[in-house]
């Protein structure tokens, strides 16, 4: 295994002509060919080499964007023109996207090389990557365990050193939980920060694209290219954040002040492995930040409210798969209804069907107020809990997930137990807030993560605090089998 480096180290090696983008891409392709984690659904060999050649020409012409020529992997939920985009489903196993997602366009413009598409839970519905039509992904830290989900392929690929960075999406924790379980840094920006155009819809009021990288500085580089207003997404935010415009050139703005960090007591109540997160608190206190206890009283209501809202939106969004315009179509349909029902029943897996049925139930006549409206009311109570907390504190610190990686098959037969994996990530999603998971230690040899949550559009606070923490810790540099991430390029 060649040395694993940060995105920044790779970027400076390209700038200093220590390696060319084509050489780097060939190296990546060779490593991915030996991958045993099943992180990739599609490897885009020819396309990647062509993009690498283009990036090289742009460098020779004097361009020097830090992402130019760096290989990355896209979660297979982002449409990539001319390349298979499966969303982890049999339904889209044959789907070649006719256009690029906005995120893909932005990263292409920055000159990044798409090395392939990563494995994921089917339609991003899952917390273990076991619902993928293309088989489960193994956690590189222990291949008997899951990498988390739904962005499990992206997380495992970064943790295994197959790429330095990958895109992910987070509806209820799908970036943060796999990042925690694989020992990498995952950033879910504020809802609306990054365009959803071309990102296959699961629950549109929750879906948010983000980054999966080694550390906060690398996440900031990715964010700088991915974020921005997009006319094609009606919920895209129009923002003028000076720090965001400066990220690519100057990096994360220094905090230069003491923060008040809230510790929501509801997130610590059931924590069996609290030692690592307490150590994070100590480190942050030593850095001059003030820690205070806060309460987010409606936390426990978040899981049921989330599964109502996400299920309702999923059942609506997934009604588009009808076997007519794209996606799986059954053999010899006898009638229009037969075409719909058989195409959908063959194309969707069990978990997707469960969510569709849940949404169909809660949206059906007579149940709408009791479930959907009730869930939206709870959503407001949860958002208000956060607003009240942020009146007093700058940022919140919590564990990312209740447990480290669990064994494959351990929860897959019990959907309710699986849903509890999202306990600490779902409330933030309902409130649309930005959150970041960073490695903070190990339990039984498996990485765990600490979650930082900030007010809307204050990713600068998340990134600044995480970067400061990562200067005083090395959890994020540790990789399986004693490998360490190098922050310098080693030829």
């Amino acid at each position: 295994m060649p040395a694993i480096t940060t995105l920044r180290a790779m970027s400076s090696a390209l700038r200093n002509r220590e390696i060319s983008s084509v050489e780097l891409t060939e190296e990546h392709l060779a490593n991915i060919a030996k991958d045993e984690t099943n992180s990739f659904i599609t490897v885009a060999k020819e396309r990647a080499l062509e993009q690498a050649n283009q990036a090289q020409r742009r460098r020779e012409q004097g361009e020097h964007h830090p992402l130019l020529g760096v290989p990355l992997a896209h979660k297979d939920i982002f449409c990539t023109q001319g390349l298979a985009t499966t969303c982890g489903s049999r339904m889209l196993a044959n789907f070649i996207a006719p256009y690029d997602a906005h995120v893909v366009t932005r990263l292409n413009q920055a000159g990044m090389v798409t090395i392939g598409k990563t494995n994921m839970d089917e339609f991003a519905m899952g917390s273990s990557n076991e619902s993928s039509h293309f088989g489960p992904v193994s956690n590189p830290w222990n291949t008997d365990t899951v990498p988390g989900g739904s962005s499990g392929g992206s997380a495992a690929a970064v943790a295994a050193g197959l790429v330095t960075c990958a895109t992910g999406t987070d509806t209820g924790g799908s970036i943060r939980q796999p990042a925690a379980l694989c020992g990498i840094t995952g950033l879910k920006p504020t809802y609306g920060r990054i365009s959803r155009y071309g990102m296959i819809a699961f629950a549109s009021s929750l879906d948010q694209a983000g980054t999966m990288t080694c550390d906060a500085e690398d996440a900031a580089l990715m964010l700088s290219a991915m974020a921005g207003f997009d006319d094609k997404d009606s919920t895209s935010a129009q923002r003028q954040d000076a720090w965001l415009a400066d990220l690519a050139e100057h990096g994360i703005p220094k905090l230069n002040r003491s923060l008040k960090i809230g510790l929501p007591k509801e997130y610590y109540a059931d924590l069996s492995n609290g030692g690592a997160i307490e150590a994070v608190q100590e480190t942050l206190a030593e850095q001059g930040h003030k820690l205070v206890d806060v309460s987010l009283p409606h936390t426990q209501a978040a899981i049921p409210a989330y599964y109502v809202i996400a299920g309702a939106e999923a059942s609506t969004n997934l009604s588009r798969y009808d076997g007519v315009r794209f996606g799986h179509r059954c053999e010899n349909p006898q009638s229009l209804n037969d075409l719909y029902t058989r195409s959908r029943s063959e194309g969707f897996g069990d978990e997707v069907k469960r969510r569709i049925l849940t949404g169909t139930y809660t949206l059906s006549v007579g149940y709408f107020d009791a479930y959907y409206i009730k869930a939206q009311q709870i959503r407001r109570l949860i958002a208000d809990d956060f607003s009240k907390a942020f009146a007093d504190v700058d940022v919140l610190l919590t564990p990312t997930s209740p447990t480290p990686a669990f064994r494959k098959g351990q929860l897959s037969s019990d959907p309710i137990a699986m849903y509890q994996q999202d306990l600490y990530t779902v409330p933030t999603s309902l409130a649309g807030l930005p959150a970041l998971s960073m490695p903070c230690g190990f339990v039984n040899g498996l990485p765990i993560g600490a979650q930082l949550i900030a007010p809307a559009f204050r990713e600068d606070v998340l990134l600044g605090l995480a970067a400061a923490y990562q200067q005083h810790s090395d959890w994020h540099l540790q990789r399986p089998n004693g490998v360490r991430v190098s922050q310098e390029w080693e030829a």
């Binding site: 789907f95 996207a97 006719p98 809802y191 929750l206 006319d231 009606s234 935010a237 509801e266 059931d270 009283p297 409606h298 426990q300 209501a301 899981i303 049921p304 409210a305 599964y307 109502v308 009604s319 009808d322 007519v324 315009r325 996606g327 799986h328 179509r329 349909p333 006898q334 009638s335 229009l336 209804n337 037969d338 075409l339 058989r342 959908r344 969707f348 069990d350 469960r354 569709i356 049925l357 849940t358 169909t360 139930y361 809660t362 059906s364 007579g366 009791a370 939206q376 009311q377 709870i378 959503r379 407001r380 109570l381 958002a383 959907p415 309710i416 999603s429 309902l430 649309g432 809307a456």
Partner: protein, 144 residues
């Protein structure tokens, strides 16, 4: 500590009456009567009993345009019952007078100018279609 939830008046919802917390009863031997919210805010586990309602799975499956064979239908029903029991824990939260939140940042829908901004891409889009003819999508015969 366990809280047991029972369905007692599901017909209230079916008949279209505004559902209230009355459709669910906590086992009050371990709860304070005046504080339904405590079900969800106290650091206690909420554990559901099996729901007493029966789910009309064929009807739901038909609405969702899904079909289940005998075996998968039983497990789909069992899973759905568990999920519904889990989400019913919401009913213990007091939401009287709370405005529903549909957009996470409470934003208003942005409207665009009513001008043509898309170009015709029929061939491009139909390249992903399973069956087309002369620019049309093919489906089984609807009118004999």
């Amino acid at each position: 500590m366990l809280i047991t939830l029972h369905f007692v008046a599901l017909m209230d919802i079916r008949s279209g009456n505004r559902p209230t917390a009355a459709i669910l009863h906590c086992n009050f031997s371990i709860l304070q009567l005046h504080s339904p919210l405590s079900c969800l805010t106290d650091p206690i586990k909420i554990t559901m009993s099996e729901t007493k309602q029966s789910i009309d799975l064929p009807h739901l499956a038909n609405l969702a345009r899904l079909i289940f064979d005998h075996d998968s239908s039983e497990s789909a029903r069992a899973d759905l019952e568990k999920i519904i029991a889990m989400i019913d824990a919401m009913q213990t939260v007091d939401t009287e007078g709370v405005q529903p939140l549909s957009h996470p940042l409470d934003g208003a829908q942005r409207l665009r100018q009513d001008i043509i901004s898309e170009t015709e891409q029929r061939e491009n889009f139909q390249s992903a279609a399973p069956a087309t003819s002369d620019g049309y999508y093919l489906v089984p015969r609807v009118v004999e």
